[in-house]
C-alpha cells in the first residue's frame, strides 16, 4: 500500500515523504516538516566510495541553509550484504558524520519507487514538492549547490 502510494505520487512528479521507509536512523521527519522546503534526498550506500565523496557537499549545504529552507534526508539502499545490517549503517553514518535523518531501504522500496539505478543519486525537490533535478554520481557538487540555491530563492 505504501509502495503504491509512492509510485502514484512520483507519477505526479511531487514529493512523497519517503512513505516506503520501514526504518529510520535519526528521527523520522514528520510529513508536515517537508512542506514549503527544498528537499534533497541523497540515495546512497555507506561503503560506496562515490557516495562518500558527495557527503562533504551535503554537509556544507546543510550548514549553509536554514532548516526552514532546506531539508536533507538520506536513503540508505544497500549494495553489499554487510550494508544491510543496521548496526553497520549506524557505525558508518557516525564515521562519515552523517547527522541528517536516514531512511533504511533494505527492501529497495524507495529505490524502485523513485526509479533509482545508481549510487549516489540526489533527488532535489522544490518548495512545492515537485522533483526539479536528479543528480547521478559524484563530481557534480557545483550543480547541486546551484540547483539548491535557485530553488531556495524561489518563493
Amino acid at each position: 500500500m505504501n509502495l503504491l502510494l509512492s509510485v502514484v505520487l512520483l507519477a505526479q512528479s511531487t514529493f512523497a515523504p519517503l512513505v516506503g521507509a520501514s526504518q529510520w536512523i535519526g528521527p523520522q521527519p514528520p510529513a508536515a516538516s517537508y512542506a514549503g522546503k527544498v528537499v534533497v534526498v541523497d540515495v546512497f550506500t555507506f561503503d560506496c566510495i562515490n557516495c562518500k565523496h558527495v557527503v562533504p557537499e551535503l554537509r556544507s549545504l546543510r550548514a549553509h541553509y536554514s532548516t526552514n529552507d532546506l531539508l536533507l534526508v538520506g536513503v540508505h539502499t544497500p549494495e553489499m550484504p554487510s550494508e544491510r545490517v543496521r548496526a553497520n549503517v549506524v557505525e558508518a553514518l557516525a564515521a562519515q558524520q552523517i547527522s541528517w535523518p536516514v531512511a533504511i531501504d533494505n527492501d529497495q522500496k524507495l529505490w524502485n519507487a523513485y526509479g533509482i539505478q545508481y549510487w549516489p543519486t540526489q533527488l532535489i525537490f522544490d518548495r512545492h514538492g515537485k522533483l526539479r533535478k536528479t543528480v547521478i554520481g559524484e563530481g557534480q557538487d557545483a550543480d547541486v549547490a546551484a540547483t539548491v540555491a535557485a530553488l531556495v530563492a524561489e518563493r
Binding site: 550506500t45 560506496c48 566510495i49 562515490n50 557516495c51 549494495e79 553489499m80 550484504p81 539505478q117 545508481y118 549510487w119 549516489p120 547521478i136 554520481g137 559524484e138 563530481g139
Partner: protein, 96 residues
C-alpha cells in the same frame, strides 16, 4: 574497438569477490559494461563516478583506459564464472 581486461583482483574468496577491470578504447567514447553473473550471484560495479547493479556506464579516459571495480557477492555457491560484456558485445570471462 573496446577491450576489457582484468587489471587486478581486489578480493577473492568466500562470498565476496572484487576485481578491477580495465576498459580500453577511443578516448571520450561511452560504453556500458554489464555483467552476466551465474545464478545466485549479484554483480555490482563502481566507476570513478557512480556505482550500479548489473551494469555501469563508462566514459573512456584521455589515456584510452578507464577502470571499473566489479563486486560479486553470492547467496548460493557459484557454479561457473562471470562474463562481462560491453554494449558492443565485447566480453571478458572471469573464473570465480
Amino acid at each position: 574497438m573496446i577491450a576489457l581486461a582484468l587489471a587486478a583482483t581486489l578480493a577473492s574468496g568466500g562470498e565476496m569477490h572484487a576485481y578491477r577491470v580495465a576498459v580500453s578504447g577511443p578516448a571520450g567514447s561511452s560504453v556500458t559494461v554489464a555483467a552476466q553473473p551465474p545464478p545466485g550471484w549479484t554483480a555490482t560495479f563502481c566507476s570513478a563516478r557512480l556505482c550500479a547493479v548489473g551494469h555501469v556506464p563508462v566514459t573512456i579516459a584521455a589515456t584510452g583506459t578507464s577502470y571499473v571495480d566489479l563486486h560479486l557477492y553470492v547467496a548460493a555457491h557459484p557454479t561457473h564464472g562471470v562474463v562481462l560484456v560491453t554494449a558492443r558485445g565485447d566480453t571478458l570471462r572471469l573464473r570465480v
